[in-house]
């Protein structure tokens, strides 16, 4: 039902150039897209909002290419994923994405400590690909198949990232007093 209403809104934007239909789509998905970026950037709110804005603008300009085969949400995540990795590449043109872990440059200096600090500190222990898989799987509760679709990785690779990320994260959480 949800995806049907999304398709109806997309059709209104593409065929009738109805901007208010796109406004509804942005309102509906802004939270999940911004949360995705907050997790990927380990809490950099300003950067997250900039990347989320880029994502929606890219989605708007390439809305014609949305054929409705995937959920609108999956399609949007795919754009968000590409926007994030384009950003990472532009920041680190010569480094290998797979072996790079997020450094402090992507981490916002959090004013408040506690819960938020813990999640972003925990996510910082992971490599980018692991972080993407872990957050999409555990926080957004997406299936492995969907994550593979979003990231363009094989399902086996997604499972490996999940397994490694899970181990690192569990160790970090246990070291910091969780799960006792």
């Amino acid at each position: 039902m949800n995806s049907l209403s999304d398709i109806a809104l997309v059709t209104q934007v593409v065929v009738l150039h109805n901007k208010s239909a796109f406004d509804q789509l942005v309102r509906k998905y802004q939270s999940q897209v911004r949360r995705f970026f907050l997790n990927q950037t380990c809490g950099d709110k300003e950067l997250s909002d900039d990347l989320a804005q880029d994502t929606f603008i890219k989605a708007y300009t390439s809305l014609n290419s949305f054929k409705g085969a995937a959920n609108f949400s999956t399609w949007l995540y795919r754009i968000a994923y590409n926007v994030f990795f384009d950003y990472i590449r532009s920041q680190k043109p010569t480094s290998d994405l797979e072996i790079v872990t997020t450094d402090a440059a992507y981490s916002n200096e959090q004013q408040d400590i506690g819960k938020k600090m813990d999640i972003y500190a925990a996510l910082q222990q992971l490599k980018e690909a692991e972080r993407t898989c872990i957050t999409l799987f555990y926080m957004e509760e997406l299936e492995i198949k969907k994550i593979a679709e979003i990231t363009g990785l094989a399902e086996g690779t997604v499972k490996s990232h999940l397994s490694r990320g899970k181990e690192k994260m569990a160790n970090y959480l246990k070291q910091n007093g969780y799960g006792r």
Partner: protein
Amino acid sequence: MEDNERLIMDFMKQNRQDIVDDGFTERVMRGLPERKPQRDWLPAVWNGGMMMMVIILFVAFGGVELVKDALIQNIDMALAQGIDMRVIFGLMCAFVFYISQRAIQKA
């Protein structure tokens, strides 16, 4: 392993936050470029019109009769020369199959 799974699942759920819009949508809407009007239908209409015209002219100038006569003449000639009708039928089937495959590939 099960414990790790549960630990992470609970931790992630606890930290899952819904982000309030707080003017974000308006900023996105202000930053949207103008959409170029779609002209996708123009080539389709043009092609369709041209195709219709070709068919009308073909029928109006007796194209159907011409093709039918030529076909009958060729079949008569083939029969007169002792060519098996099954060979002609097989060739025609192969031709139709080839054309339909091309059409599917194009579509």
